[in-house]
């Protein structure tokens, strides 16, 4: 800067430096279990400093609009964060992410409108950053809403696909980029509107063909997108706090997306364009043939309870069904009763069980399940051959042996919990419907496997009652 800043503006910029340090320390601490909670609050404090400093910024001449907007947003934000059930956390994160992207797109649109009288004389970097912010922010907004819809089951969780979808999407994206170039070249408002609409449609088309099981990775991807949109809004407004905050999220979010994909043994490209879980011609035929003419064995709660009560070791494999049914407390009770009878009880937690990595850990922690009982994938698999009963509660794809044996399966190569190596498997499941990925699970046709149909919580409660009577 060659122009000396006024004292007040220097104070604002110094406050932004303090805020940036808070955000950086916050992210750092969030990536370690011991420090995560304080990290979240340090980041929040950094954010508060940035917001407070902005109030004193010389660019702001009118306050009522800002105060009203923050008041409305705070009420909505607090209410939704407090009222949401633990099971609905993932879609809530998707919504919060979407509105962030929407805000970045709106900033770009508003600034473009404000500069409209200078059409033909706008600064190149401002125009380019506006286009990027509008494009990425809109995609993140509509994409996140679709992800929300899928997780909330307002939209079908299965991939929605049609012939030539990838070609259509590529063409749509090319058209959207063209509108961005036209808007930048002409500096005319209507092109900006066309760009925003096209980007919103593209966001919808991008996420629709992705199966519900992949939503965590998609949300993480869109999270990184929103970060980039915020960073480019920073270039639009020449604001370094926005650039730092947005870029940190864009970069760390990209890495997190890759790490999450790796935990599922999938590349990002495969998640985005693979239409995972779609009725792939060869895969579907193969898995259909594998289950043809095979029967499923049903078991009563009494029989299952007896089997577990006289076992030496029981391993519980929780999944999304447990989360939906809020069965974590009943499950804890079941485990306590088994332990009181001298049965060794462990929980096998697949890294992507549920709708988000760590989802199961959070739920079981809520039910005060002792930490040493939780086994991760690498610890759990050697236990199964020594286990008398593996109890699968609402988990599906993470137990599918096709991931090991069937190269045709879309799951092939994903590390799974080898529950089929236990002496007996009891599967608690609502119905024979395939899991979220929409793939048959041959585990259910294994002669070792017995099915206990019903809502997970009701089934676990029946098991608890039955064990009392054993």
């Amino acid at each position: 800067m060659t122009v000396p800043l006024g004292l007040a503006q220097s104070v604002v910029n110094l406050a932004y430096v303090v805020a940036a340090i808070g955000l950086i320390l916050g992210i750092k601490r969030l990536s370690s279990a011991r420090t995560a909670r304080s990290g979240n609050w340090i980041a929040a404090a950094g954010m508060a400093v940035a917001i407070a400093a902005t109030f004193t910024s010389r660019e702001i001449t009118s306050y009522w609009l800002i105060v009203a907007g923050i008041a409305v947003g705070t009420v909505i934000g607090v209410a939704s964060a407090r009222l949401v059930k633990m099971t609905a956390m993932p879609q809530m994160v998707a919504l919060f992410n979407g509105v962030g992207g929407g805000a970045a797109a709106l900033i770009a649109a508003a600034e473009f409108h404000r500069l409209a009288p200078e059409a033909g004389h706008m600064r190149g970097d401002t125009v380019a950053a506006s286009m990027f912010s509008a494009l990425i922010g809109s995609i993140s907004f509509s994409g996140s809403l679709v992800a929300f819809g899928k997780l909330q089951e307002l939209l079908p969780g299965r991939p929605l696909t049609f012939r030539g979808q990838n070609v259509f999407n590529a063409a749509l994206f090319a058209a959207t980029l063209t509108f961005a170039v036209l808007a930048a070249a002409t500096e005319q408002q209507p092109w900006m509107v066309v760009l925003l609409v096209a980007a919103l449609v593209f966001g919808v088309m991008l996420v629709l063909p992705i199966g519900g099981a992949d939503m965590p990775v998609v949300i993480s991807f869109l999270n990184a997108f929103t970060g980039l949109a915020a960073a480019s809004a920073g270039f639009v407004l020449s604001n370094n706090a926005l650039i730092i905050g947005g870029t940190l999220v864009g970069a760390s979010g990209t890495l997190l997306t890759i790490l999450m994909g790796r935990a599922m043994n999938r590349s990002l490209a495969n998640v985005l364009f693979g239409a995972f879980g779609a009725p792939a011609p060869s895969g579907a035929v193969a898995s259909g043939a594998a289950t043809d003419g095979q029967v499923v064995r049903e078991i009563t709660a009494e029989d299952a309870a007896a089997m577990m009560a006289y076992a030496r070791q029981v391993v519980i494999v929780p999944g999304y069904g447990l989360a939906v049914a809020q069965a974590q407390h009943a499950t804890r009770e079941l485990a306590d009763m088994l332990e009181a009878r001298g049965v060794s009880v462990k929980y096998a937690i697949h890294p992507v069980a549920g709708r988000m990595p760590g989802h199961m850990n959070v739920l079981l922690a809520e039910a005060n399940v002792p930490y040493p009982q939780l086994l991760d994938l690498d610890e759990a698999n050697p236990e199964f051959p020594r286990t008398d009963v593996a109890v699968v509660i609402g988990a599906n794809d993470v137990t599918n042996p096709a991931a090991r044996s069937n190269p045709e399966s879309p799951l092939y190569g994903m590390p799974i919990l080898n529950v089929d190596q236990a002496q007996n498997v009891v599967v608690l499941k609502r119905s024979m419907n395939p899991g979220f990925a929409g793939i048959e699970n041959e585990l259910y046709y294994n002669p070792k496997t017995a099915m206990l149909f019903g809502d997970a919580k009701a089934s676990v409660e029946r098991l608890v009652t039955s064990i009392k009577e054993v």
């Binding site: 919060f96 508003a110 999270n223 949109a229 997190l256």
Partner: protein, 100 residues
């Protein structure tokens, strides 16, 4: 190219590397809270919305800015609170110091 743009590009480049370095070794357990926490951090877009709102003139600009502020605030407030609720679930169940 202005000096401030160069400075901003420098900040951009350093922030990219910093973002990658910060979360290099995060355990799977923390993927969800970390995503949620960083999700709240991009709510910093709120201060951009404030700057736009503070100098908005036309009704359209004011409307866009108002919605952007509401959106940004939901992102910040909801994001940090939801992350805290998630992390709250982990308390009191860590392995005791020195191993179980």
């Amino acid at each position: 190219m202005s000096a401030s743009l160069i400075a901003s590009l420098t900040i951009l480049a350093l922030s990219i590397f910093l973002g990658f370095e910060l979360i290099g070794r995060v355990p799977t357990l923390l993927h969800t809270p970390l995503m949620s926490g960083t999700n709240a951090i991009h709510g910093i877009v709120l201060i951009g919305a404030m700057l736009i709102a503070g100098s908005a003139h036309s009704g359209l600009e004011k409307t866009l800015a108002f919605v952007a502020i509401v959106f940004g605030t939901i992102n910040v407030v909801g994001g940090f609170l939801v992350t805290d609720r998630m992390l709250d679930m982990f308390k009191g169940r860590r392995p005791p110091e020195g191993g179980a």
